[in-house]
């Protein structure tokens, strides 16, 4: 580009800025496959443990379950931890729309409530090993649909981005 870009060059540069911002935002979709697999297995174990070890196992398995989520949260926020998880970037909070946070919160709430309810329901239901069955379904769903759900969240919220935080959204 010359010292004083032409209008066409300026338009191309602005388009590039926007495309790079979108590219950076789309990096939220990247995470190692094993992370979904580990979470799927953790959910399966959490639900299946009371079927095999009794209701009293819920207390210590709950702590292990919570510890897994906290560890994941901490790893996500550090450069080295994110590298371990296969995340090459940490996207700025300002890049996410409110809709994105609402969707993530809703998905997490549904997951946590389902798991908590399943773990707390007392024994005596007529279907044997029903928690194990539910664990297979939920864990399997997370392993299979985990990466796809991130893609879905990304697609759903991509259009809601921009505004004051976005430098390239102007008159071009």
């Amino acid at each position: 580009m010359t010292e004083r870009p032409t209008a066409a060059e300026a338009a191309r540069a602005l388009q590039d800025v926007d495309e790079r911002r979108d590219q950076a935002f789309s990096s939220t979709q990247r995470e190692a496959r094993w992370v979904s697999v580990v979470f799927g297995i953790v959910i399966f174990l959490f639900l299946a443990i009371p079927d095999f070890l009794g209701q009293e196992a819920v207390s210590w398995s709950s702590w292990a379950f919570i510890a897994t989520f906290i560890t994941y949260g901490i790893l996500q926020r550090t450069r080295r931890g994110a590298s371990v998880l296969g995340r090459p970037t940490s996207v700025r909070k300002q890049e996410f729309s409110r809709q994105y946070f609402r969707n993530v919160l809703l998905v997490l709430l549904v997951l946590v409530l389902t798991v908590a309810l399943a773990a707390l329901v007392p024994d005596g239901l007529t279907v044997p090993y029903w928690r194990t069955g539910l664990g297979v379904v939920l864990g399997g769903t997370l392993i299979y649909f985990g990466p796809r759900s991130r893609d879905w969240l990304f697609t759903k919220t991509k259009s809601g981005r921009g505004g004051p935080g976005s430098v390239a959204h102007g008159s071009h």
């Binding site: 010292e3 209008a7 911002r21 950076a24 450069r79 970037t89 940490s90 996207v91 700025r92």
Partner: protein, 107 residues
């Protein structure tokens, strides 16, 4: 720098791409930036050094296990420079649009 002044450092398309990528993130791995920009490691390293010398990009080196990693992030000065540069580019487009409208009115 005046708000509508073009930044000579960001007139280079590769440097503008790097800064635009980093504008959306808290930090990014060097390898991801290289892959996204489509530059070689040495070419990117050269541009990052230039941006670093101007205080636009900060570099952190470390290890994950035994593997060396380099992380890049945009400084406050870099973010301000990008915003200013974008405003200047938008100004060029706006001036061009007004000139075209004036020509149409005169015709």
């Amino acid at each position: 720098m005046a708000p509508t002044e073009l930044d000579p450092v960001l007139l280079d398309p590769t440097r503008l791409s790097i800064v635009s990528l980093l504008a959306g993130v808290e930090w990014a791995e060097f390898a991801w930036v290289r892959e996204s920009v489509g530059a070689s490691a040495s070419a990117l390293s050269k541009q990052v050094t230039t941006l670093g010398n101007h205080g636009y990009v900060e570099v952190e080196k470390g290890y994950v296990g035994k593997r060396p990693r380099t992380w890049l992030n945009l400084s406050q000065a870099g973010r301000a420079a990008l915003e200013s540069h974008v405003v200047a580019l938008q100004g060029i487009l706006e001036t061009s649009r007004q000139a075209a409208e004036a020509r149409q009115d005169n015709a």
